[in-house]
């Protein structure tokens, strides 16, 4: 049964206790132990470099042409840490509490507390690596605030925080490559886990340039392969982001935790047409200064600047006066959907709301006038100075918006709409980040553990780096200490041969279908089913329908997909087909999980479970558990429940009013 291996003792002592008593591997033995790492985003790169530094023999794999491309790079806003540099009342406990509450009491207390504990060290480590965080004139680090919190604990590097953190981790990784501790395999995709005697012992990967399959042995396998938001086809994820590594592990025995917990990010650039291939996020940090509104009149077709102040409905400020525009993402997203569904949407699609910087520009402009001691400033000058300040803070985001939409956000309010952004669900892991398969770990977005039913802004970067830099180096020793007597297993072992054969057969099967429909068209159809029926609002009838449709889609896929080209060459369509086939299976499980969870919590909104005011209503009596799904053959899963115990953060109805 599920054993989450949470250490005994008071919450704030668990991690210290664990570190004090976990097993260690001596340096000579570390050199003999091989570790495979799949994915080189923040979690993967930080784990690979840290484990390489410790002396383990690491093999790291990424499907991109360089580890620096991993999608962590696209994170914009920032990274949280309980440093309390602002003297505004922050602490480890506050960060822990905000994260648990933000996650709507569906995360594991012990993991989240550990995350808050190590958060400060992450900032220290990154600064030491040369990550150029924003600074104040005095030379010290700057902070900003993010959704769901009332303190300023977010560290940032303009709108490119993820990029800077990833490059820091990438550099540390490349240093280990140079030192010979890590071997890097670019353009390689994991297609199966090899399990021998119940323990993960290696992987089958496909070289995406030659199409050859390769077998790699490892004493342990770490999946740092990110989230599965692309199951919705349209998301803010990179085109290549996929669930395949996690899904293969799932089919080899790793339970999938809370698959239906999806984060829909409130501030994305709206869809412009059928050709759309992906959606672009506008950082949550924009909600610091921007105000969100819709017209008070339904189907108002006036241009935004023609709508007078009194005819604007700043609905977040109206509904949630305490947090205003900085309510958590799930709340902001649902509120936008509610307004658009009620007919107040803007733009040609009517599926958008305004994010307006006019007020912020005036406020900053006046501030600058004061700062520079300008007498009798004209309104034009104030506006100009205000725009300059906004440009310095958010310039790259505004530029991006203009490139995509052709509109100038300094002049007209941005149009935004929620889009799939992150998946809180993932492989179920215990306190040590080990999945239900021995020796198989999941880190970062690939696991389910820290964000419950909703992730707070600037917490994904924190979790990825916490797992890689500060958690796995300790917890993996606890497992590997017992593996020092296991010599490298030959990749000619029957389990490797068998796994490779299964992978090869499946690829052969896919390419032999030679049907009429493209992979992309299947992916789009899957995405539409998921978005319509398992998206921002879900209900029983819709989910049941979705399950049927997905099963039908799967049949159609396996009988009518057309994959051009051949196997033994670079073939992006084949790579995509492999991924979409897994997304289809995952989509089914997500709907099953959503159907099972009859409550609303965080990003999971069941229409049947809401308050009179339309807020999400949890059902702690029946659903205070992690749903860990065990694969049991096609269309078949067994549900295991990990009861969530809240010793410190007692669940209450979340309120941001």
């Amino acid at each position: 049964m599920l054993n989450s291996k949470i250490p005994a003792g008071p919450l704030d002592q668990k991690w210290t206790e664990f570190k004090g008593h976990c097993k260690l591997v001596n340096p000579a033995n570390k050199r003999k132990l091989e570790i495979i790492i799949i994915g080189t985003g923040l979690a993967g790169a930080s784990a690979a470099s840290s484990l390489g530094e410790l002396g383990y023999k690491v093999k790291a794999f990424c499907f991109q042409d360089s580890p620096r491309r991993a999608h962590s790079i696209a994170a914009q806003g920032g990274i949280n840490a309980a440093k309390n540099y602002q003297n505004d009342g922050d602490s480890v406990f506050r960060l822990f509490y905000d994260t648990i509450k933000g996650g709507d009491y569906r995360a594991r207390e012990s993991n989240v507390h550990r995350l808050a504990e190590v958060s400060a060290s992450i900032i220290d480590q990154c600064v030491a690596q040369g990550v150029p965080f924003a600074r104040e004139y005095g030379g010290l680090l700057s902070n900003r605030s993010f959704g769901g919190t009332q303190v300023q604990r977010t560290f940032y590097a303009a709108g490119q925080t993820g990029q800077q953190l990833l490059i820091g981790a990438y550099q540390a990784l490349e240093r280990q490559v140079a030192l010979g501790n890590v071997t890097m395999y670019n353009r390689h995709e994991m297609l199966d886990v090899v399990v021998i005697d119940g323990k993960a012992r290696g992987v089958i990967v496909r070289n995406l340039v030659t199409g050859e399959l390769e077998r790699h042995f490892g004493h342990a396998v770490l999946l740092c392969s990110g989230g599965y938001g692309n199951v919705f086809y349209l998301s803010t994820n990179a085109m290549g982001s996929n669930v395949t590594a996690a899904w293969k592990a799932h089919k080899k025995g790793a339970h999938f935790g809370n698959p239906c917990f999806t984060q829909i990010h409130p501030t994305c650039i709206p869809v412009s047409g059928d050709h759309q291939s992906k959606l672009t996020l506008m950082s949550e940090s924009l909600r610091n200064d921007g105000r969100i509104w819709v017209p008070k009149k339904q189907n108002d077709t006036r241009r935004p600047n023609e709508i007078p102040e009194e005819e604007r409905d700043y609905y977040l400020e109206r509904r949630y006066p305490a947090f205003g525009n900085l309510v958590p993402r799930d709340v902001a997203s649902r509120a936008a959907k509610e307004r658009c569904d009620a007919g107040y949407g803007v733009g040609s699609s009517r599926q958008a709301v305004y994010l307006d910087y006019a007020d912020a520009i005036q406020r900053y402009g006046k501030g600058e006038v004061n700062k520079r001691n300008i007498q009798g400033a004209t309104p034009e000058l104030i506006t100009q100075l205000g725009k300059e300040v906004v440009k310095e803070k958010y310039g790259n985001l505004f530029d991006m918006y203009e490139k995509i939409t052709g509109e100038n956000p300094y002049e007209v309010p941005m149009r935004i709409y929620p889009a799939v952004h992150y998946t809180m669900g993932g492989l179920w892991v215990d306190y040590e980040l080990m999945t239900s398969v021995q020796g198989l770990y999941a880190l970062g977005e690939a696991n389910f553990s820290d964000h419950g039913a909703n992730r707070l802004g600037a917490s994904a970067l924190m979790q990825g780096l916490a797992d890689g830099y500060f958690v796995i180096p300790y917890t993996i020793g606890n497992y590997l200490a017992d593996e020092i007597r296991v010599a490298s297993i030959s990749t000619d072992h029957p389990a490797f041969v068998q796994a490779e054969k299964e992978v090869a057969d499946r690829i052969q099967q896919l390419i032999s279908i030679k049907g009429n429909q493209t992979v992309e068209s299947f992916h789009k159809r899957l995405g539409k089913i998921m978005w319509d029926k398992c998206g921002m609002a879900r209900n029983e009838a819709g989910l049941k329908q979705a399950i049927d449709e997905i099963r039908q889609l799967k049949k159609e896929f396996w009988s009518d997909v057309r994959i051009p080209g051949s196997i033994k060459e670079m073939n992006p369509e084949l790579d995509k087909a492999n991924r979409v086939a897994d997304f289809i299976e995952l989509g089914e499980l997500m709907c099953i999980d959503a159907l099972n969870r009859k409550e609303s919590c965080g990003g999971h909104f069941r229409e049947e479970s809401q308050t009179e005011e339309g807020e999400a209503m949890r059902d702690d009596a029946n659903f205070s558990y992690v749903a860990a799904w065990e694969y049991a053959g096609e269309h078949n899963w067994n549900l295991h429940k990990e009861e969530l115990v809240f010793e410190v953060a007692k669940p209450t109805q979340r309120s941001y009013k």
């Binding site: 990154c126 600074r135 240093r175 085109m239 057309r562």
Partner: protein
């Protein structure tokens, strides 16, 4: 923005693999919306090719929001196309009008061999970073992040250099196929910060040596790299790199 549709002629470099000689193929694409991104136009073309039973065009792309650095097309004689400070994935079709002909080529440099069609191998950049583009600090060794204040101007300059996405447009644009803008961005980023000081000399020497081994050309300060850089990395970084190198090379024993 006013939207419109257009028909275009595309001339695209097709090359089966690194051994193949390669050639241009001409394609007609119809009803392309001005709201599409350039890569979405390629998606449309590829879907069409697959339906016709032909091989789709391979090209590198991932984040499609201008930050991962994976996309790499040389469009009508300019890396990443006509827009300033832009990546291919962020180029939108409103840059073109009905009837236009667009020629798309892969990055060209011996240090970036073509893998297939428009896909090139940029692992030489990784090897340059391996030769010294980091600060040697093992996890757990760090002091408090605020223990060392850093002049804001320097921190900002370091950030501006660190904004490099490693796409290789600088190499593609340079008549010498020089990687100096990429290299100088990394050297500047780390040289401007006090944390980078202990390895400052060895870093620049080793990284330049690796760049030379990879077969990139030397910099002749033409400025083409800066003009096409999606992240507007300044060519001033190259001059800084030169000084770092000269200062280190002349004194290191």
């Amino acid at each position: 923005m006013e939207h419109y549709n257009m028909n275009l002629t595309l001339k695209v470099w097709r090359q089966k693999n690194s051994q193949d000689k390669g050639r241009f193929e001409t394609y007609q694409v119809k009803n392309i919306s001005s709201e599409m991104s350039f890569l979405e136009m390629f998606d449309v073309l590829n879907e069409e090719l697959i339906r016709e039973g032909k091989e789709p065009i391979a090209f590198d792309h991932d984040c499609r929001e201008g930050i991962c650095g994976m996309c790499s097309m040389y469009i009508n004689g300019r890396p990443h196309g006509p827009w300033h400070a832009n990546t291919t994935c962020q180029l939108h079709m409103r840059a073109y009008k009905d009837g236009d002909t667009i020629v798309v080529e892969p990055w060209r440099a011996n240090a970036f061999p073509v893998v297939k069609d428009l896909v090139v191998d940029r692992s030489s950049f990784d090897r340059i970073v391996q030769s010294g583009g980091y600060i040697s600090v093992n996890t757990g060794n760090a002091v408090d992040a605020n223990a060392m204040p850093i002049e804001k101007d320097k921190a900002d300059a370091a950030f501006a250099a660190a904004a490099c996405i490693g796409c290789g447009a600088c190499v593609a644009a340079c008549k010498n196929s020089s990687a100096m803008l990429f290299l100088s961005a990394k050297v500047s980023h780390l040289a401007l910060l006090p944390q980078g000081a202990p390895e400052r000399k060895s870093r620049v020497l080793n990284m330049v040596a690796q760049m030379d081994r990879e077969g990139f050309g030397a910099c002749t300060n033409t400025g083409a790299c800066e003009a096409v850089c999606p992240k507007e990395i300044s060519i001033t970084n190259i001059a800084r790199l030169n000084l770092e190198y000269i200062g280190s090379g002349l004194v290191t024993e």
